[in-house]
Amino acid sequence: MSVADILTVLLVSVGLVFFLAGSVGLLRFPDFHSRLHALTKADNLGLGLIALGVAFQVAEPFGIVKLVLVWFLAVLAAASVAQLIARSALDRLPDGKEADKRG
């Protein structure tokens, strides 16, 4: 395996670990906002690492630009949506307790 392959496997594996951490946080944290926090932070970083890892496999520079654009758009969308969800949850569930009933 060449250096590029080793780097790809390493970075993608670390990215997957972050995704796993985010999912564990989703299942285990006690209240709504901490779950949202764990999910978005870990997933964005995980996606960045995976995109970086895959970038070593791409031959042409335009492909790398496209990967960076994909990561940027995903982070933009995830961050905006997370803020909107958090705000609407705050408006409806001021103490965060009712959120747990719906899981």
Binding site: L69, L73, L76, L84
Partner: protein, 312 residues
């Protein structure tokens, strides 16, 4: 067992699990969320089958737009106070449904396994003829040239579905504005997102239809991206939906199918309906695709916006 086969087997299990949760989830919103996940898994399956055009269409239309439609419907039913639960289906109905579905699945599996191996299909024929017909992406060639008749009918079906949705308008608001009024904070995150994403989306959409002639892409995928951009602009409160009686709107909706039909009828002069003269084939296909993209984008955006609710 190769790694690729294990990957595909894992993907199939995920697809079945997501479909099961989409069908059987007790919470309707959860079921809709799992349906969107299911749609994205199916798009991954298409990528594994090396059918990237279909994967793009499934992810954008099957998972994305259908998901938006379903969530919007769920929110509307919630707002109307409609109960979600009902008495569960009777035991005999479950038995009949279960045996019918089981029988159909078994028959289909038997049919699939009985097919001879090494089928070539129509791919060699398409590959032979493709060189004379302008485009190099075989799927675009089939969609807009070899089976152009189907695509023409499909674009007309889209417009007819939109007319059908508009036909449900109550007389008081006839010709008015579709969808509910959006209330967005003008300095909030959604407004910023709605200003940042549309230019990028516009470039991506135009690139998709331009690149569709030689790489995976095409009019329907690009039209969906542009429709999503428009929906975001409306949701972010930057611009309201136009009234359905607007002449400009109706021209945009009809322009794509009408141009397609006109070029098709003009093709009668060259040989047959929807035949393109060889030296103009690429230009004509590109012209049809671009006009069709904007018509499709407008039609899809209005289909998601829904029924007319406000007076003009």
């Amino acid at each position: 067992m190769s790694a690729a086969f294990l990957l595909d087997a894992g993907l199939c299990l995920l697809i079945l699990a997501a479909a099961l949760l989409a069908m059987a989830g007790r919470d309707l919103f959860g079921a809709i969320a799992f349906f969107i996940v299911y749609g994205i898994m199916i798009a991954l399956a298409w990528v594994r089958l090396e059918a990237v055009d279909v994967a793009l269409a499934e992810a954008a239309i099957g998972a994305g737009l259908t998901g938006v439609l379903l969530i919007g419907a769920w929110a509307m039913l919630n707002r109307l106070g409609v109960p979600e639960d009902h008495k569960p289906a009777a035991g005999w109905l479950r038995l009949v449904a279960g045996s019918a579905s089981g029988a159909i699945t078994i028959i289909l599996v038997a049919a699939v396994m009985a097919l001879p191996a090494g089928r070539e299909g129509l791919a060699p024929m398409v590959a032979e003829e493709l060189a004379d017909h302008g485009v190099s992406n075989p799927v675009t060639g089939v969609l807009l040239d070899f089976r152009a008749y189907d695509t023409l009918m499909e674009s007309i079906v889209l417009v007819v579905a939109l007319v059908a949705v508009w036909a449900l308008t109550p007389p008081a608001v006839w010709g008015g504005v579709p969808g509910l009024r959006q209330h967005t904070r003008p300095d909030g995150v959604l407004a910023m997102f709605g200003r940042l994403l549309p230019p990028i989306g516009l470039v991506v959409g135009v690139y998709l239809v331009w690149a569709g002639s030689s790489q995976p892409g095409g009019a329907f995928q690009a039209g969906t991206v542009l429709a999503a951009v428009w929906l975001l602009v409306v949701m972010a409160g930057i611009h309201d939906e136009p009234p359905v009686s607007s002449r400009l709107l109706r021209t945009v909706l009809v322009a794509g199918p009408a141009l397609f039909l006109a070029i098709g009828i003009a093709g009668l002069g060259v040989g047959a309906l929807l035949a393109y003269p060889a030296e103009y084939a690429y230009a004509l296909i590109l012209l049809i695709e671009f006009t069709l993209t904007f018509s499709i984008a407008a039609t899809l955006a209005l289909l998601v916006a829904g029924r007319v609710r406000r007076a003009p």
